[in-house]
């Protein structure tokens, strides 16, 4: 009785997961094979589920006749900048929240959590106006700043929970051995936290890599557009070149997928810890 019940549960588990798996993978499959089809095979009502002719033409067109290289460079710059700054600020702030007692600490934590309730679109317009006053419109630095602000509350809380997991004794032992506080932080604590630091970086990086609406609002000239903005400009045309579009989407996917594959486990652990225990 119990054995059949167990077997049933296992079977339904595998069935459910396989359905999810297909549901997730099929759209990506369609995106990918479209990018490899010649134009005639894309725009046909005799839909090819397995492409007859493979070609890299769409990728060639993407690189040669659009500004994709510029978009790519901008996206890399913005995402790296966002990732690095956010991580540094989050390490500093997380350390302060985890290791010190100070007046206003509780308020700071609640303040950070409350910022999570402010929808980004709400502050977009005043920020546009502010940016045009101080000359940060159409400027990659300005965009990075927006993304840092968007990511910092969550990353800081995440970092704090990573510090919380590391026993203070480790640092105290280093201090007794004559290390300075800063040295103890860099030589003892941060190396242990490396997975958490990577997770935080990736979180901010992917966030910036994928963001669309702010980038549309804040960037107007082609030379500063990021990949999402660049591709969204194509897609609003009626005559969408789906081959090139899908090639662009596949290119945009690559970095996030690589990062996701490398750090999937830390990110999942990190997200949970940060959000649930705070």
């Amino acid at each position: 009785m119990i054995r059949t019940q167990r077997a049933l549960i296992t079977i339904s588990r595998v069935l459910i997961l396989t359905m999810f798996l297909l549901g997730v993978l099929l759209p990506f499959y369609w995106l990918f094979i479209t990018s490899l089809k010649p134009k005639l095979d894309i725009l046909t009502t005799d839909i090819q589920y397995w492409p007859k002719n493979f070609t890299l033409d769409n990728y060639r067109v993407l690189w040669q006749s659009s500004n994709f290289d510029v978009f790519l460079k901008n996206s890399v710059l913005v995402s790296l900048g966002t990732g690095l700054f956010t991580t540094c600020f989050a390490i500093l702030g997380g350390y302060a929240l985890a290791r010190y007692k100070f007046r206003g600490k509780q308020m700071a934590v609640y303040g950070l959590l409350l910022t999570q309730m402010i929808p980004g679109v709400m502050v977009m317009i005043p920020t546009v106006i502010l940016f045009s006053k101080i000359g940060l419109m159409n400027n990659l630095g300005g965009l990075i700043m927006i993304y840092i602000v968007g990511n910092i509350p969550f990353c800081l809380i995440l970092m704090r929970s990573f510090f919380d997991r590391i026993p203070v004794d480790l640092e105290e032992a280093a201090l007794i051995d004559g290390c300075s506080k800063l040295r103890a932080l860099f030589r003892v604590v941060l190396p242990i936290m490396l997975p958490g630091i990577v997770a935080t970086f990736v979180f901010a990086f992917i966030g910036a890599w994928n963001e669309l609406l702010c980038a549309i609002m804040f960037i107007s000239s082609d030379e500063f557009k990021t990949i999402p903005v660049g591709l969204s400009m194509f897609v609003q045309n009626y005559d969408v070149n789906w081959g090139v579009m899908t090639a662009g989407a596949v290119m945009a996917l690559v970095p996030s997928l690589i990062m996701f594959a490398i750090v999937q486990r830390f990110v999942v652990d990190g997200l949970t810890d940060g959000a649930v225990k705070g």
């Binding site: 679109v121 609406l213 649930v276």
Partner: protein
């Protein structure tokens, strides 16, 4: 080290908080002012206070009722769908079995993908002429005529909602799975000894143990989904004829397409008020303050 009191932590938190004040709190406060101003980029000489004219214009707009209704449907159906599917997924992944890491990595994948790639992919999948979805549905004899998923005003919103559900299931799955993994296994063993069935174990142990996480994720997710406008922008740009616009995308379109920052801010303020009321009611209904000091 916790015993030390010094000024150091203030310096360490300063960069983060400084940025938050300049680029989040200050803009938030000033959006209150812009909502009461005539602020059209197309008429830069007319910028100035105009009382509640923006609100009047927004509320009297023929589309506003529909946008409100859409927002409600969008939030309820999207968050509901994501939650239910995420819960099922988390349950399926809860216990170790061969291949679990592989399954987990794949089903969490949409989380790493940008909304514009998702929007683009689904636009292409659902394309009436060349998309596989219509083709397969017709081949299998499920439908007789092509469905215009994104250009039929009765369908566009639901199409985007389904896409958004697909996109957000991993978030709930991750959060709920992590919470489930913290449930001590001996609770289940003890319940088995007492003769508890599957349902009673699910209800009394799994569900009640992760209730806090459920409440928290539902709250955060509702706020996020309510504010998410990018998928809508990519898939339908709010169309046809505003039939797939929700408050946040409507606001974005007002600002981006018509450059009317005053009216857009008024929509934003109204939107914010709705969110605050919702959060308040939600926290009271779920006794949120007791749900652990997060």
């Amino acid at each position: 080290m916790k015993r030390f009191r010094s000024k150091e932590p203030y310096f360490m938190l300063a960069p983060s908080f400084l940025l938050l004040f300049i680029f989040l709190i200050y803009p938030l406060l000033s959006s209150f002012l812009y909502a009461f101003q005539s602020y059209k980029l197309t008429a830069p000489n007319d910028i100035g206070f105009n009382g509640i004219a923006n609100f009047k214009a927004v509320f009297q707009d023929a589309n506003f009722g529909m946008v409100l209704r859409n927002s409600f449907l969008w939030v309820v159906l999207t968050v509901g769908g994501q939650f239910v599917l995420g819960f099922i997924l988390a349950l399926a992944l809860r216990k170790p079995f061969p291949g679990r890491n592989f399954y987990q990595a794949i089903v969490f994948l949409p989380w790493a993908v940008s909304s514009f790639v998702v929007g683009l992919t689904f636009r292409w999948l659902l394309n009436a002429e060349y998309g596989p979805v219509n083709d397969l549905l017709m081949k299998w004899g499920i439908i007789e005529n092509k469905i215009y998923f994104l250009s039929d005003p009765n369908l566009a919103l639901y199409t985007v909602i389904l896409t958004m559900i697909w996109y957000g299931v991993p978030f709930f799955a991750i959060m709920l799975l992590a919470a489930m993994q913290s449930i001590p296994e001996d609770l289940y063993e003890a319940a088995s000894i007492d003769g508890a069935g599957i349902w009673s174990k699910f209800w009394h142990i799994t569900f009640s143990y992760i209730k806090q996480t459920i409440v928290l994720t539902l709250l955060l997710r509702t706020i996020w989904v309510f504010a998410a406008a990018d998928l809508i922008y990519i898939m339908t740009a709010g169309g046809p004829a505003n039939s797939s616009n929700i408050l946040s995308s409507y606001m974005f379109m007002k600002a981006y397409a018509t450059l009317d920052y005053g009216q857009a801010s008024a929509i934003g303020l109204f939107f914010m008020a709705l969110l605050i009321v919702f959060c308040y009611l939600f926290m009271r209904a779920t006794k949120f303050e007791k749900a652990g000091n997060f």
